[in-house]
Symmetry: C2
């Protein structure tokens, strides 16, 4: 399992649910939206924080998107709200496309743990609210692609070696045969910045939760091994070139005084690969991923505490990166 | 004076002389060539090393060229030889284009000291050998461009800021009005790799040694100030961009695992500039220049001790650079 941590960043399970007594979002009024927020917040009990999006700044909203705690779609909702646990492993979006979209996100490959947590939460809410459910179709959702289990299971994977070898097109084609789809760091249509890919199920109807999870769990494991083997093979075949490339990235990462988001992602991916190949040490994969998220544009803007231009933003990002990577050394 | 050291690398004075009793090189036989070597070596006294080029390897010959101790032309001579003092500040080429070409090379801007040394040597040889001399023209040389003083005075200057601003074309044009010419690191036709330029006099006839030296000394001083002012102005105007560029070069220099000669020169020029702007410390200009010469192709080949391919050569160079720059730190 430890071995996968170099490739599998995080596991996420998301359930889409709707309250049977409330119209779907497009036909909803403010009173109904209010009820969804209050009823779900009451149902889940203590230890959670409620954030109503209309009460926070545009930058804070964007940061929640960067942290994968809400979808960009929630920003479009007039009555969007978010419930978070302290560790931020559980987040519940309210009044997004569906009334309720709850997710559990955990580090590494951890489907059974994530499913246990989200299932517990789901049952807790269901005990207080009546879900829109059809005995033939399963859970009913705003968009037909979610009808059935209403479940989206996904893994975030770092695949630099397969990308470098131009093998991702084949990988994506192969995975689609198992009903799996591959997206970039920030979902559909987003680029695979930093060689980060999200692997998730496409189908929710006619398959059980267990089947979906098994398929994606096995595929992620297989892909993680493929990636690790490919990385080792590239290194064994091109030792000097690989060390040159990765150590140069390290040198730039630790010394740049301005870094745009795209370059930061690309260098961070190289550092990550270097750690996984045993060339660098002094930082964990979790710390690298945290840095990746902390150095996204909105988070930088927030840190600056006011209006900044692009040069200032890239300067702050570089400073943050230098600080976060100061303990990394040659292994 | 100290201030110039960031710009003026070295001062060189070279005198071309021929022995009146021996035919010029194109009409010379082995016996005459032998006489030149033996007579000059006898004349200069103890403490010098004599190297006959036919006795050393092609790599060793090329290293002497890289070190500016001989010209590439000496390699074409059948009877070429070299006399060196221990410090290698004095080198005397024998049977190159002229019978005798003696040079003194010193660090920094040091024309009076260099002239004193070379003049002493010249007088010592002249006291034992009769030079080809014409009362109207002065010293006679194989090529008419050297007739007169037979003297070539030059300074090696590091001019990154003027180069960056695209001002070297104007500088070269202005200097030519004073009878000065500008070449790259390895003489005529060579590129200004590492932003290194050699400034030297074009005219040897109808001017005195003192006039030549005054002109080039003043020009070098003026140019050194211009370069230093330009570098400071660029930095003041573009602080973040300049630090970003120079610190990135530092990061690459200290971490690259392969470096070709051209990139090495370019990075070394950035490190040099960073030291002169007070951004980096822990290495002297002399050490940087020494590294530049030590990391040239033939010197690397010699260090490898046998046949190597390009990748191996660039790997050894990068290793040498990492070793030589390990004490450099942010100021």
């Amino acid at each position: 399992m430890e071995n996968n941590r170099s490739v599998v960043v995080s596991t996420r399970i998301r359930l889409a649910r709707n309250v049977s007594t409330v119209p779907f979002l497009q036909n909803m009024d403010e009173k109904a939206a209010r009820d969804v927020i209050d009823n779900v917040y009451d149902a889940i009990g203590k230890g959670y924080e409620l954030i109503e999006l209309k009460n926070i700044s545009a930058v804070d909203k964007q940061i929640l998107v960067e942290q994968h705690l809400i979808s960009p779609d929630l920003l479009k909702s007039k009555w969007g709200a978010l419930i978070l646990n302290k560790e931020r492993t559980i987040s519940i979006m309210l009044n997004e496309e569906d009334h309720i979209r709850m997710q559990c996100i955990l580090p590494g490959l951890a489907f059974s743990e994530a499913y246990a947590k989200i299932d517990e939460l789901d049952k807790k809410i269901e005990s207080m609210l009546k879900y829109a459910y059809d005995s033939q179709f399963g859970y009913l959702t705003a968009c037909p692609t979610n009808v059935g289990t209403g479940m989206r299971a996904s893994v975030m994977m770092h695949l630099p070696a397969l990308t470098m070898q131009g093998r991702m097109t084949d990988v994506i084609r192969a995975l689609s045969k198992f009903g799996l789809t591959v997206r970039g760091l920030y979902g559909e249509g987003s680029e695979a910045l930093g060689n980060m890919y999200q692997l998730s199920n496409q189908v929710t109807l006619g398959v059980s939760e267990k089947e979906i999870i098994n398929t994606i769990d096995n595929s992620a494991l297989h892909l993680a091994n493929m990636e690790a083997d490919t990385a080792k093979a590239i290194y064994a075949k091109n030792k000097i070139e690989t060390e040159d490339r990765l150590y140069r990235s390290y040198g730039i990462f630790k010394n740049a005084h301005k870094l745009d988001s795209k370059e930061m992602m690309s260098l961070l991916s190289d550092i990550w690969l270097a750690v996984s190949l045993g060339l660098l040490s002094g930082i964990t994969y979790d710390e690298l991923y945290e840095l990746m998220i902390k150095a996204q544009p909105a988070a930088i803007l927030k840190k600056a505490g006011g209006e900044i231009n692009i040069l200032e933003r890239d300067y702050i990002r570089a400073k943050m990166v230098r600080e976060a990577t100061k303990d990394i050394t040659y292994s």
